[in-house]
Amino acid sequence: MNPQTRERLNKILGRIPLHVVIIILCLLWILPTLGLLVTSFRPVQDVNESGWWTVLSERGGNVAYETYCASCHGPAGDALPAADLSDPEFISQYRRSIQISATFNNEYDGEIHIPEDQRPNADELATILTALREGAEGEARPRFWLQNYIDVLAGYRGRLTYAADCEAGNIIPGQRECDFLTDATVSQAAMGRAFINTVIVSVPATLIPIFFAAFAAFAFSWLDFKGRQALFAILVGLQIVPLQMALIPIFRLYVDVGLNGTFLGVWLFHTGFGLPYAIYLTRNFLGSLPMEIFESVYLDGASAWTAFTRLALPLSIPAIASLGIFQFLWVWNDLLVALVFLGGTNPVMTYQIGNMVTSLGAGWHLLTAAAFLSFLVPMIVFFGLQRYFVRGLLGGAIKG
């Protein structure tokens, strides 16, 4: 080996620890989210029976069957014709695991069915029975399904299939036709409805502050008026006033004027608390543009209005994009404002999930599906427009 290659090799080897550390940290960072994602697609029984990391291994029931029963009953359960465990009719006699464990003391041809020390415990037996029943009926449950999403979208907590249950008249929201889409968009308990509400809240609550901020930012950067610097310094300070300060007064105000529980009320609240940061960010951007371009339009006889609409607005599109994405995600992910001003009247997704966690104790299969639904849009926005989002977030300060 010549010295040059050796040196290069050493360099590469020397960097291995670095890569290992980075990769381990990154894996650690995404592991929790991965668990959520996998779980949201697993059938209820699996979620409750085994950890999500075992998703690709053999199911517990089958494993336990292999261990305890297969030696006599055969891998398919049909080795003993008089006790054919793969026969649906036969297995349907044993509805509960207790009924099977009762046979363990039976003697067949002088031999005890299963000796005391080789028996599965109650939990294992239950999983064996489930596995046997599913095997016998020939419809083993899939490893992944979309049922959790269907249930959670329609606000339908955990029975097997939405359509079948609905036709049997079991559907919770009422006696309508079995119209999944309608149930998902009407039912108060549904994430489908909450998803729509979240969109209704987020879009205007992003556009309105940007609209007002653009005007104000233009004036703060390219128009002169008395107290301009002082006012702007105050705005800088207001950015971090905690929105807790406004909850009670605005809540009372809304009760008086009938804005409580309305979308308009929330839009305006987000506008109020979004504005200082929005103005700050946009002004910093506009203020960094060269003065000459404004000079030239004014010299051409344009008014402040024309300079704003024709020049400042088009030029500040990148800043507005950053701001928009930042504000959009902020509102989309907000819980406190929605909790106070919308509550259950027009529940948004964060409210709905918070409710599922705290009061209803919905199963993890539904909670994870609901949470992932709420991540869908932020994830798309984030991975699609990451650069703008980062710029919006790092633009200089923090907000209420």
């Binding site: 940290l25 990154c26 995404i30 929790p32 668990g35 779980t39 029976e49 085994s50 950890g51 990391w53 517990g60 109650a122 005007f215 104000a216 233009f218 390219w222 128009l223 008026f225 310094a233 207001l238 971090i240 006033v241 905690p242 807790q244 300060m245 406004a246 009670i248 007064p249 605005i250 506008t271 109020g272 910093n284 003065m291 008014s303 402040a304 992910n333 907000d334 819980l335 909790l339 106070v340 964060t350 999930i353 918070g354 966690v357 705290t358 909670l367 994870t368 949470a371 992932f372 709420s374 991540f375 932020p378 926005v381 991975f383 990451q386 980062v390 977030l393 790092l394 633009g395 923090i398």
Partner: protein, 324 residues
């Protein structure tokens, strides 16, 4: 961050360019709508909350009315007595301090670590995106994610109950007993919650610090290395002092985030098991106990805690403007 973009231009005396003089009325037409909204939603409520904090639970009388004979009373500041000295509130403050002491340096250190590490590899963008991703999702969602990580079996006495929380599964595979992470007060559950906070915000710290690190001139670092300084020394003696302003920004920003923290605790423990914090307490006083006065007093305390940072931000802004 702003501190980074500080441009070193020659100082010139500030004069308003002629171009900007567009009459006295026009500029106000541009700013007034925004100012009115800000006034209604931030300025007026802040003052009103201050007033409410001196009133009783339904704001019908001064807070003095809540005083009982023979007990300590702060008169019209009675709500502040509750906000500053009651057991529940003291516990909340203790937890907030725990959060501050661990999460603020935690995020800064982890962020710095990541920023330095990924700066040296080619898949920097991917690694950063993975670390930063939690910032894009809701805290409520993060609560669900971590609630699942911390899951504790419903009937822990049954040795065969399946364990579906990955953290407890790891413990059990090491021969330990599962731990009820979120209901073991006061240290374990608060730490478990703080880990969630660090997980969420590290991406934020990393992104800001990474930008600062990229701003450090390579020649400086190289020169030190050639002089025989170890990587460790290069980092502490050259890198850290140079990015100190940015580190301060991360520290102050995280301090504010931490003080205002609400969602994680509200969703994951609801403030139970001694895990309450000030912001959650404020909500509970108002919407669960219907104690408007106390709730307002807590909000005011929160604001007062934040005011130093607020003033610092304005100062920093004015300095920047001066050299703009």
């Amino acid at each position: 961050m702003a501190a980074l973009r500080r441009k070193k231009k020659p100082k010139t005396k500030r004069t308003v360019p002629l171009i900007m003089r567009q009459g006295t009325v026009t500029p106000w037409l541009f700013v007034i709508p925004a100012l009115i909204i800000i006034f209604i939603y931030i300025a007026y409520p802040t003052l009103y909350t201050g007033y409410l904090s001196l009133r009783n639970s339904d704001s019908s009388e001064w807070a003095t009315a809540a005083c009982r004979e023979g007990e300590t009373c702060w008169g019209v500041f009675e709500n502040y007595r509750y906000a500053l000295t009651s057991d529940v509130m003291l516990k909340s403050f203790r937890n907030n301090i725990l959060w501050l002491v661990i999460m603020v340096p935690g995020v800064t250190a982890m962020g710095l670590l990541f920023a330095v590490l990924v700066d040296r590899v080619r898949y920097e963008a991917l690694a950063k995106a993975l670390i930063f991703m939690p910032m894009a999702i809701s805290f409520v969602g993060a609560g669900v994610i971590w609630g699942f990580v911390y899951d504790f079996p419903v009937n822990p006495d049954n040795p065969n109950a399946p364990i579906i929380g990955i953290l407890n599964a790891a413990l059990v595979s090491l021969g330990q007993k599962p731990v009820p992470w979120l209901s073991s007060p006061p240290l374990i559950n608060n730490l478990a919650l703080i880990v969630v906070g660090i997980w969420l915000y590290t991406g934020f710290g990393m992104t800001i610090l990474s930008a600062a690190i990229k701003g450090v001139p390579d020649e400086l670092l190289e020169a030190a290395r050639i002089d025989g300084a170890s990587e460790w020394m290069v980092f502490w003696r050259i890198m850290v002092p140079l990015i100190l302003p940015t580190i301060t920004v991360v520290l102050t920003t995280m301090t504010i985030f931490t003080l205002k923290l609400f969602d994680i605790i509200y969703v994951m423990t609801g403030g139970n098991f001694d895990s309450n914090v000030v912001a959650v307490r404020m909500y509970q006083e108002m919407y669960i106990n219907f104690e408007a006065g106390r709730s307002a007093a807590i909000a005011v305390v929160l604001l007062i805690l934040i005011i130093p940072v607020l003033i610092y931000n304005i100062r920093r802004f004015q300095e920047q403007e001066a050299i703009r």
